[in-house]
Symmetry: C2
Subunit: 206 residues, 2 copies
């Protein structure tokens, strides 16, 4: 694609480095910005710069935060005896949006993947064990819920964490895998359907 202006070319190149945005979409966005008032572009640029420069990560759960300890970890109504372990920040947002969980989180920043050279040391796994170990008596961690992706890497990570946490005497659970609410049995893949039968829930016990 030939561009009539170096400035447009630069902007298109930078925007199209974002995931899921190609050159054509980038050009559309650039031309849109050119049609708007100058402050629209300024606000966008400033917000991005401020974001990247000033963002902090919670020293406890490694979620993004505006302060050293995030609002969830500081939350007075939060059940500090439960920690939900997730792969990354969007997972925290997704679980928060369900309003079904009142415990704390722990963001690993990825999952163990020998293929990509990501071992436990590249992730915030040791700090999870540390959190469990140093928790004061009135905030003792009773349960760790693993909400990791249902992939081989996710399972490896879950296995690794589970083995270590057992030694610390913490109950470890994992979120349920099964047919999504509203999902049709006949269109569900065999692995999910098979697992949902194996991990069936007892009605009377529930």
């Amino acid at each position: 694609m030939n561009f009539p202006s170096k400035l447009i070319e630069d902007a298109v190149n930078e925007i199209s480095r974002l995931p899921g945005i190609g050159k054509k979409t980038a050009l559309r966005l650039v031309l849109h910005l050119l049609k708007q008032k100058e402050n629209v572009t300024e606000d966008l640029s400033q917000a991005l710069l401020a974001l990247r420069k000033d963002i902090k990560y919670c020293s406890k759960c490694h979620n993004v935060s505006d302060e050293t300890v995030c609002s969830i970890c500081k939350g007075l109504k939060r059940d500090k005896s439960i920690i939900c372990v997730v792969e990354d920040i969007p997972d925290v947002l997704a679980i928060e949006n369900t309003s079904q969980y009142q415990g704390l989180y722990h963001v690993l920043g990825g999952v163990i993947s020998p293929m990509q050279g990501i071992g436990p040391d590249e992730l915030k796994i040791e700090s999870l064990f540390e959190r469990v170990r140093i928790a004061p008596d009135d905030e003792k961690v009773q349960e760790v819920i693993l909400a990791l992706p249902a992939t081989m890497e996710g399972d490896t990570t879950a296995f690794y964490i589970t083995r270590q946490l057992k030694d610390l005497g913490v109950k470890v659970s994992t979120i349920a895998r099964g047919i999504p609410v509203g999902g049709e049995l006949e269109y569900t893949d065999e692995v999910t359907l098979g697992r949902s039968i194996l991990t069936r829930v007892n009605y009377s016990a529930d």
Copy 2:
């Protein structure tokens, strides 16, 4: 959607003001930028700011340009006797990418739309007539090609321009409407198919 950080919320809000980008996509982009090195975000912001601040419009054809007169208008190999009139900048890029056109352009910046309160005065129409009028004898405009959208507004604009240009003694043509190359007759809409029959091209004359 609740955000764990005001900085993220601001960035998501600004990004989701762009066309075709919702809050979820914006959040994905923001989290992607957080994972990249800081200079990725800086380069992006700088490119956008520079674009919006330093972009110029060609004083002749109103295409975007880095200088007062764009590279097409200055091009030595360009046929200055033909002007192709388009609605907006992407149309210039699209036609340029065909490599089938060697004349000049004229970007109107929109089309006449009484519904949206856009009259000829809001567009660069008068400057088109002026270009035709003041062209020196060796660069006299022989033909104006209208490459406007096939909508009511596009047709209105074409009609308006045609009537005025006739008085200036310039040949006016419009790009062919018809079945796209590779298109199937049976799937073409009736209006296009009907028009393509009415405006059929004589083989022997061609």
